[in-house]
Subunit: 345 residues, 2 copies
DNA sequence: TACATCGGTGTAAACGCTTACACCGCGCCA
DNA sequence: TGGCGCGGTGTAAGCGTTTACACCGATGTA
């Protein structure tokens, strides 16, 4: 194993306390002594032992990230944002995927004790109850794009910090954009009922219609589950609708793409006969033909914000007030909806 | 803070040694005593403190992953593969991005002491020298898709384990496939000179031509830097070539896509007038029109293999022989090269 | 009966660090 | 001159574990 503080002390002819003092820049040390220690450290290539340090200081300089699935763009972007913020603060990032298996997540959660100073949890499913029960109450946690069950109790702080996406606002804006293009009958491809993002987007769609004085039609809300496949099927149903709408807004890009295939198959022109828009602005969106209009989600920023929030909680242990933040989305107008590009892109 | 082993011992009316024994299933403990301890643990919601454990056992149950850039599909897939393997073995994953800044990577490297049992390093740039100098010699390291400088010395083990992609084989196979379609003049879009993947792919291209008895033409090897942009420019140069080749193989998909744009712009039909193929099989590949033929890279497997190799090194501390492994690539034939789909897809 | 064996348990050292506290010598002020 | 304050340093306790070792009683064996 590598050198310990004791060997450094020996080599520099001082006590370990003094070495520790120069290591942490704490307490007075004679310049000359400090120099001697510094060179000893250099020569021995000494690096303090993280675990030992953690043991006594009770902090690990590490934050944990819990993710349900380490798959795809969303995940990697979030991590990137988190890592960015972490590095700025000299922290390490411990990531851990889990399958939705309740037992597994509990196991992971407990395994984290003494390993992390805080936790970012990203999960549409994990219920906060199970979180709290398996974690020291003092562990700062921020929920990322995870629905908080129960009403936010005014006055009393929430159980967790939370960073969420402005799904509602994004959907709202897109629908209004579509309407601005002259469409009155705008269909909507819904996501899975149990998905919070999907619910919010639906709400945004409805509210936008409301705000426009357009009566919602139940028939125009087609079911879907975020999969390309379900978008394809919805596309077919769309074409059978009577009278046929001339605009569709899908709750995510995958469904929009599936829908596009269905329309194209039927010989319907996009955006000529049909305006199409999605949500998420996945990378593929700009590559398909026609390029897909979408609502851009700043995923990395989601991660960064979560990290910053967590940092605040960790630093100001006591006086940290829990709250929920929302990250804005932006409209990205491309060819698929037939509208002119706005200055948003 | 949460309960310690001492409190558990107290509650169960035994010594901490006994508690530790049931915790680790080591040494004999009376069934009845064990039960008493187990319930005490349950009630106190006790979880052993990772750092304390690490301190004495000198192992952290954590492996570190060093990445140059946490961006895009490649990264996220690698991580997924790593996490998968890690979870199977009950290990944690500490990830750390770094910018190529030499000082920074050294800082990160040292910060890792006492935090990880092993390291996976993914970097086209990091030179192994700097690695070894900043790490305890005993720390197992596996290089992932990272060129090892210097010849592998026969007999004497290499300095590191390494997992690499079969770039050569993939390129070789693709060129032969193109040739099998009847093409004799196959152009190649090269990647950046300093990139090892790019070099190997070029080598595969040349060797394939050689094996086919086709004379290589220098003019058919166009420069590029892996960017879509450079592919676009290469596409334009391609069209000016006299006589014009009818097939291009790009060293990566991004360039292939850029090239496709250039061709399309010039009114050239793909695959009608021009067969096109890429390398990497990025997700977008199947979505563009026409779907891009490519060489599929099993990225997640790269991660898994690296992890397994590392695990082996960690477990068999002494008797671990370092070696380099290669992960196979597979041909994915889609529409862009005009060939029939093979059973490989 | 005496002694080795073995299951079951406790004691205490050690891991590498931080930090409260004590200590020493010095200069300064009253 | 005696005391105080202070820069500079060492001593040792303690963080939460694991584990070598010692101990004790019961059982088996000669």
């Amino acid at each position: 194993m590598s050198a310990s503080i004791k060997e450094v002390a020996l080599k520099a002819g001082v006590s370990i306390a003094t070495v520790s003092r120069v290591l942490n820049d704490k307490g007075p040390v004679a310049v000359e002594t400090r120099q001697r220690i510094l060179t000893a450290i250099e020569q021995l290539r000494y690096v303090p032992h993280g675990a030992a340090r953690s043991l006594i200081t009770n902090q690990t300089d590490t934050i944990g990230v819990l993710l349900p699935d380490l798959y795809g763009e969303f995940f990697s972007e979030v991590i990137r944002g988190i890592d960015l913020a972490a590095r700025r603060s000299g922290l390490h990032v411990l990531i851990s995927g889990f399958h939705s298996d309740r037992a597994e997540i509990e196991a992971v959660l407990r395994a984290l004790r003494g390993r992390v100073d805080g936790l970012i949890v990203l999960s549409p499913d994990v219920d906060a109850q199970s979180l709290r029960r398996n974690l020291p109450e003092t562990l700062p946690v921020v929920l990322l794009n995870t629905p908080v069950e129960g009403e936010p109790v005014a006055g009393d702080g929430a159980a967790f910090d939370a960073i969420n996406l402005d799904n509602h606002g994004g959907a709202f804006a897109m629908v209004r954009h579509l309407a601005g293009l002259g469409h009155r009958r705008i269909a909507f491809l819904r996501g899975p009922e149990e998905n919070a993002d999907a619910r919010e987007r639906l709400r945004g769609y409805r509210d936008a219609l409301l705000s426009l004085g357009i009566a919602g039609e139940e028939a125009l809300e087609l079911g879907g589950d975020f999969s390309e496949e379900s978008g394809y099927r919805a596309g077919q149903r769309l074409l059978a609708l009577e009278p046929r709408p001339a605009a569709v807004f899908a709750a995510n890009d995958s469904m929009a793409i599936g829908c596009l295939f269905a329309l194209r198959e039927a010989g319907v022109q996009v955006p000529g006969d049909f305006a199409l828009a999605g949500f998420d602005d996945i990378p593929i969106a700009r590559y398909i033909t026609p390029p897909l209009s979408s609502v851009h989600v700043p995923i990395a920023e989601l991660g960064t914000r979560a990290m910053e929030r967590l940092l605040h909680a960790v630093d100001s242990k006591n006086g940290h007030e829990r709250r929920q933040e929302t990250v804005a989305t932006t409209l990205v107008v491309r060819g698929s909806c037939g509208g002119a590009a706005t200055d948003l892109d």
